[in-house]
Amino acid sequence: MEVIQSGIGELIQPPDINAFREWNRKKQKAMVDKRMTEAEAVRRFIHDGDYIGTELYGTVRCPQSVVNEIVRQGVKDLRVAGQGVYELDILLAAGLVKALDITYIGLEVYGISNCLRREVESGRVDTCIEWSNAGIAWRFKAAAMGVPFIPVRSMLGTDTLKYSAAKVVECPFTGIPICLLPALVLDVGIIHVHRADMYGNAQVDGIQGFCAELARASKTLIVSTEEIVPNEEIRRNPDRTLIPYYLVDAVIEAPYGSHPGEMCYVYERDEEHIKEWVEASKDPETTQTYLDKYIYGVKDHQEYLALIGEERLQYLKQIVPER
């Protein structure tokens, strides 16, 4: 089973699966109350230089209240996995990102990210290792499986592979070339969910994105939730639980935690606010004004919601269509 090709990209987070096992062994298996605020979770669990990841996708079920707190606390030199829209744009805007395992950072229908451009083209983000979207999800899955790599047929033949840290081998069963992606273990994963109990058992509605994979690939996991429900409610429908409590280190009650993004079946995304960001992000000065107003200028998520205003928030619930 010959290695045919090796990507030249740096392996930012090497797949030391045995060390990950040791870490997981020490995680607490008791069900204890893990409720805390965004401020406490970020202070305790996210440190300068950490390798972090967010789920789901930019404005969709996005752990925005936690990301905003990272910005407020100015945790810096972050290494970040994956793809993002609004949430990673905000981290880039605040100049907190040093290295990226990147697959996509942009504004979807609103085009390319000016913050990404400024940070990468200036060299402030000093490392960009390339992957595909599924590639990153698969790398989480490898870590979640507890194995050092996972075989896929993406990325083959491209510069995406060349500038990644993947390897191509000859399959020992069939002889065909197969791409091996290294497992990706996060120092901290951040996920926003529809409901969780105080221990961290968490459920989401609608598509699952890569929630299960990212949760299981994280050494430390911060879960924010639209509502905290009694443990009994979780136990009534255990087949809805995507994240077991023992993975979780912090449970944050964050209604509208994904704003200006959406939370399916609960509230719609705030298109006007997103457009405000898109406009602001075009220029460093207006970017700063935006951050000052919506993040630095408020103490916490509650103040942020007050700034957005009850009327607007209620409206975003009212326009949710029937299922």
């Binding site: 930019g58 990147i102 595909s132 083959l156 269509p321």
Partner: protein, 255 residues
Amino acid sequence: MSEKAFNPTELLICSASRLMPDNTTAFIGTGVPMLAASLAQKMHAPNLVTIFEFGGTGAILDDLPMAVGERRTFHKAVVASGIRDIVETAQRGFIEYGFLGGAQIDPFGNLNSTVIGDHDHPKVRLPGSGGANDVGSHCWQTIAIMRHDRRRFVEKVDFITTPGYLTGPGAREAAGLPPGTGPYRVVTTLAVMGYHPDTKRMMLLATQPGVTVEQVVENTGFQLVIPDDVERNQPPTEEELRILREEVDKDRLYI
């Protein structure tokens, strides 16, 4: 109806929509493909099975999605799963069509959405692959939708984000990509193109309404295969435009 009665985006949407047959599976990315899929469902392909990267299969596109993970991508869907399930479904050979965009395309249909200039010191840092590489690797037939000019249609892309035919015939298979897959069509504001069956180089199939073969050639930065018969793509019909404007994108978010 006059050929001026529609804008370039509307033209792209209608042209792409016609490439979505009923009762087929199509991997739908952000933007024009979403509008095209919605139009197709309301026109000729009520049973087009839309597949969205983060988990939606078989959604009914009553309203237009603004993002590939949002609730409209699994509205009344038959399955709402996750990204791995979707891309593994493609990897397993279940998805016929994949719709893609890009900043640059070359004669073999290789696409760049990563950087303009050198990777490590880019002139322009673009968003990156996203799902494009996955779609271009696994779907049986990929369709690129682009605006057409010489900066985009180049002899050599700065970065191959998403595999087309790579360096030509046999190259995909040699790289380990699934046999039988590859670029199928390129839909632009000027033309609809395919690929020559032997050389795998991009080949003009039809010009868009009001566009000449010469204009296509002028706006393409590499030598395009020009067959003897070049068709003229039919302009959007009144019915297509009405549905597009009044039903698909009634708030005019895109068009």
